[in-house]
Amino acid sequence: MSAIQIAQDVINVNKGLSLIGYGLGAIGPGVGVGLIFAAVINGTARQPEAQSKLMAIAWQTFVLVEVLALIGLVLFFIASSA
């Protein structure tokens, strides 16, 4: 590899930066999913008969929160290959 190519590879930080960006972006959905299922556990502890209804609501809201982390992952792949 020529000197110019090595220098260009050294200063190409896209992959690293986009990975840091994804890591920061995954904090929010992580906290969100924890809150959702903490609520499910609390509600089931108070009233065990409500477990199936609570789990149904939990899955519906879980997917809404998870999509934010997944959008971050997809954008990581887009940003790291550009």
Binding site: W59, Q60, V63, E66, V67, L70, I71, F77, S80, S81
Partner: protein, 260 residues
């Protein structure tokens, strides 16, 4: 496969998005296209076979098909659209649920091993060409064009100064973000999940064959994780199919709902 021959230099090349670019098989027809047609055949044959010779007490196979249909009809369509107007939309909801489910599960079946929703075009077609125009059509048919726009953008009981901020946000979310995230949700889940399985499998293979002697037993750990992630992936696939149909029913119900 591209990562395999690149690794012959001795360096492990992790798979990237290019692992999903499959070459066409013949005449420009690619593997996801064939899988799509196969999934349609599977769903159609399943329901057609179950609905022949219906009896009062169903046989075991008919019972399974009836359970799937009841799940889509009661838990998804009736709960989200409301018990008065949900009946015309039950076939669409049940079809979307089973169609996305079969296409997702293709990612785990040994020879097929490709979730067709991992190509962004397929869920985008479902979301932008079916659910989104249907949402507009139902709303305009029920409330008229101006009524539909007003019903979606202006929530009742909001003071006028807040509306200046709220209406553009609602328009952005309902007319732009909702259809796109509807598709991106299932695409990203299938893409990320399948990529995780590929990484663990290829890493185990690289550790076993290419790496130094002390690292070779680590490949078992990598493959154990691949098996564990397969179970997680199966759960995510069923969940994503359920959520896709659920959100489609939610948007239809939002177009049909009366003002509170």
């Amino acid at each position: 496969m591209r990562a395999l021959w690149l690794a012959e230099g001795g360096e492990f090349v992790p798979p990237d998005a290019g692992a999903f670019d499959l070459p066409p098989i013949f005449w420009g027809i690619t593997k996801p296209m064939l899988l799509l047609v196969l999934s349609v055949i599977i769903v159609a044959v399943f329901f057609l076979m179950a609905s022949r010779r219906l009896k009062i007490v169903p046989s075991r196979f008919t019972f399974v098909a009836e359970s799937v249909y009841d799940f889509g009809r009661n838990n998804i369509a009736r709960d989200l659209i409301g018990s008065k107007e949900f009946k015309p939309y039950v076939p669409l909801i049940v079809t979307m649920f089973t169609f996305v489910l079969v296409n997702n599960v293709f990612g785990l079946i040994p020879i097929i091993q490709f979730p067709t929703m991992a190509h962004i075009g397929f869920p985008l077609a479902l979301s932008l060409l079916i659910v989104y125009p249907l949402w507009h059509f139902i709303g305009i048919r029920k409330h008229g064009f101006v009524g539909h726009i007003k019903h979606q953008l202006v929530p009742p009981g909001v003071p006028k100064p807040v509306l200046v901020l709220l209406v553009p946000v609602e328009a952005f979310v309902k007319f732009f973000m909702n259809p796109i995230t509807h598709a991106i949700r299932v695409f990203a889940a299938m893409f990320a999940g399948h990529l995780i399985l590929i990484v663990f499998t290829l890493a185990g293979e690289y550790l076993l064959i290419e790496a130094g002697g002390l690292l070779k037993p680590i490949s078992v750990v990598s493959w154990a994780f691949a098996i564990a992630m397969t179970f997680v992936e199966a759960l995510i696939q069923v969940l994503q199919a359920y959520i896709f149909a659920l959100l489609a029913a939610n948007y239809i119900g939002a177009a049909l709902s009366e003002d509170h």
